[in-house]
Amino acid sequence: MITLEKNPNTETLDAVVIRFVGDSGDGMQLTGTQFSDTSAMFGNDVATFPNYPSEIRAPQGSLYGVSGFQVHIGSVEVSTPGDNLDLLVAMNPAGLKTNLYAVKPGNTIIIDSDSFTKKNLEKAQYETNPLEDGSLENYRVVQVPMTSLTKEALKDVEGLDNKSITRSKNMFALGMVYWLYDRNPEHTIEFFQKKFKTKPHLIEANTKVLNAGFFYAETIELIPNSYSISPAKMQGGTYRIIMGNTATAWGFLAAAEKSGRELFLGSYPITPATDILHELVKHKHFGVKAFQAEDEIAGISSAIGASFAGDLAITTTSGPGLALKGEALGLAVMIELPLVVVNVQRGGPSTGLPTKTEQSDLMQAMYGRNGESPVIVIAASTPANCFNFAYQASKLALEHMTPVVLLTDGYIANGSAPWKIKSLEEMPEIKNNLVQEVKENWHPYDRDEATLARNWAIPGTPGLEHRVGGLEKDRITGDVSHVPENHEIMTHTRAEKVKRVQNYIPEIEPEFAQEGDLLVIGWGGTYGSLHSAVKQIVEEEGYKNIGFAHFNYINPLPKNTGELLSRFKKILVCELNNGQFVNVLRMNFEEQKFLQFNKIQGLPFANSELIEKFKQIAK
């Protein structure tokens, strides 16, 4: 057990961005996760983002084999994983080379100097050693022979092979960073005790290395001063750190329990959506039926079958998968069954940028089907609120008897943040349209007067046997109909049913200025970047007339959208695509002029580019 000696030189900061980088096998994800968990438990607000190669086992030491984990911790609200690094921890030359761009001059880089061998420098395509050639002189570089110090620390531990010894050097780095930011390593030591329950020598080894790193940082005067981040002011309650995809999966678990329907997932593996499948397959104890199908089409088709049979049915995918599901989604529109389709967006078109983020599937979600085929489209905007929107998507599907497309993206799906845990009692009620008794003159397409949702008679219910299908249906009997007027009425009815969802969703409430010069608009996963940039420009740079409206409901739009737009002189729509939501707005509010800010690099918005753009337009 370590007793924390307060570093006399401790400086208090609001927020810090740290990135751990190294080879795929260096354990950077674990290091980053441990640091963010410890910080969250200390009471900081936290946002994280992993960044790993799409190659599964890239050659060791290569530039494309670099794996990274970024953590943003703060005593203030933290809404993104951050742009510029205060600290880079580089475990090898390739990691340094590929991540140096993100470190602002003057900031700190901790380096495992043992890894800067001739061979590794060559693999990282360095012609000269950056530790010797002066190219890093604008940074505060801390060279630590971590590999040899780790070996030294473990010389007396028995039962360790060379590989396990070298592998634990990430804990040396973590120990140093713990000291640097005034963190107690106790949480990580407990983690070792749980993880290596049956391997006491590994508990001993990892604890030793972690402490060695901690003490090394403390005693060797290589590190000029230490930083402390006070706890953030967060709403009271029980929290946990959650990843966006896990939050999505849990939102469905909650919706299934609340609605009393069993959860069925039909899915086919695709990056970056697969973690939702991974999560849901674990929960057979809740009766979850997670079916890994033979392809994307079978994923959604099996979900449609399960929905017909009375389950809360969902399918999860990413862009190319949604394209394959298009026809079946049209069937779900036609037969008016509840269904949730999750699209964790990635860069496109085609295979595009599978591990990078983008918001370019909005049009596909809205229109990517044959015929007049409206669906509800909603978008989550933070890792934690993926929970709420998965829940809400299920609620809308069940209550309105229609497919719902839930859009998230690679950025929030893989990012993690503190989640104030929602107990099921806090979640809104979920109704459904089930019919269980035979009524006289009953028809499968009888509708609720307010929502226009048709009733849901499921197989096994005596007397309500009926047929549905992709052919157009008579609006009264539900039998096949080719009558021209009937098709028009049914087309309008399906559209009106989705439109009326407006009556059941919240109005949009802008943040900061409620009226004024500029309204910044965003939707989906860009909330964190946009919110923090608008906040900064309003609160720190005196632009008091800027408002910010972030949309989670895309189709239908919140009822007051038009009124909101009319309160501002200029409207700027920021999206990680070539301008899709802006066109949805243009179609609906043709009297307004919309300015655009678009970025299509597979990366989130950077704070600096947003501020610059806002200033340019607001002046």
């Binding site: 968990d37 069925f264 079958g305 049979a309 049915a313 107990s423």
Partner: protein, 336 residues
Amino acid sequence: METTVKKYTYKDFANDQEVRWCPGCDDYVILRSVQKALPETGVKKEDVVFISGIGCSSRFPYYMGTYGMHGIHGRAPAIASGVKLANPDLSVWVITGDGDSMAIGGNHFIHVLRRNIDLNIILFNNEIYGLTKGQFSPTSLVGQKTKSSPYGNTQPPFQPGELAIGAQARFFARIGGNAPKEMTDIFIEAQKFKGTSLVEVLQNCVIFNDGCYVKYTDKNVREDQQLFVEHGKPMLFGKNKDKGLVLNGLKLETVTIGENGIKEEDILIHDAKTEDPTMHQMLVRLEHPLVTGIIRSFQDVTLEEREDALTAQIKAKSEFRKTNDLFFSGETYQVN
């Protein structure tokens, strides 16, 4: 499902919709055979679901008095899998054609058989695309002239039984479209069988491929050209039941009892229930005679049984009963 209060007749499984297949189509025979088979199976009407894809055959659910869904092209096995996994108490039937299941839905067809979910699939094989008006299908013969092969089809056909057994089908039967009695019996057996059962009906298309099976199914030649197999019985055929199958090396050979010293006990006995598919594959490939009846009926564990067992095991071990148990488990922390 086995305890039926009411004794149904075929009329209970029909409805008031006008059946719109071409006059003389074998589809009428299949529809009536299904409606006659269901009352014999003991399943309740409200527990029966018919799922189809696209094509002439796929209009089938609209003519049934049960639950049903006319799905999208080729996807019926996937939709039906979802129905069955959601509610394993249902009797779920898939209606498909040779284009629907062998072409656009080929992937779902092989995977549903591999998984062995308890579904009954009726494959209406007419060796042609009917609804799109006469293009060659994956079971059309080489040389066959169709709208899309005016000079003769150049694509060799699938033999559905061979593909199915290759994809690990546990139950495969084949029957002529003009044999309602045998067909009804096979449907009853298919429903009783636990696992995916596939019944291929050799269905004549009177408009675009009339007479495609006449050399096997015509009443005058049927007995000599078809070998109707039954489990545990010698594989005999012919008007006088004097012809049969024997093994000659690795090949099946037709012999006549009384010729070359052949006696009835030399004839192979049909074993539909064996796991080894070798003989079943030889039987489905045979053209003279064409083998009909239940060729393979190997009882295996179903997907639902595997899933149920796993779920029960996990439920018994898990500490999670409600989602709250999960949400508040593990690494949580308090903010005051």
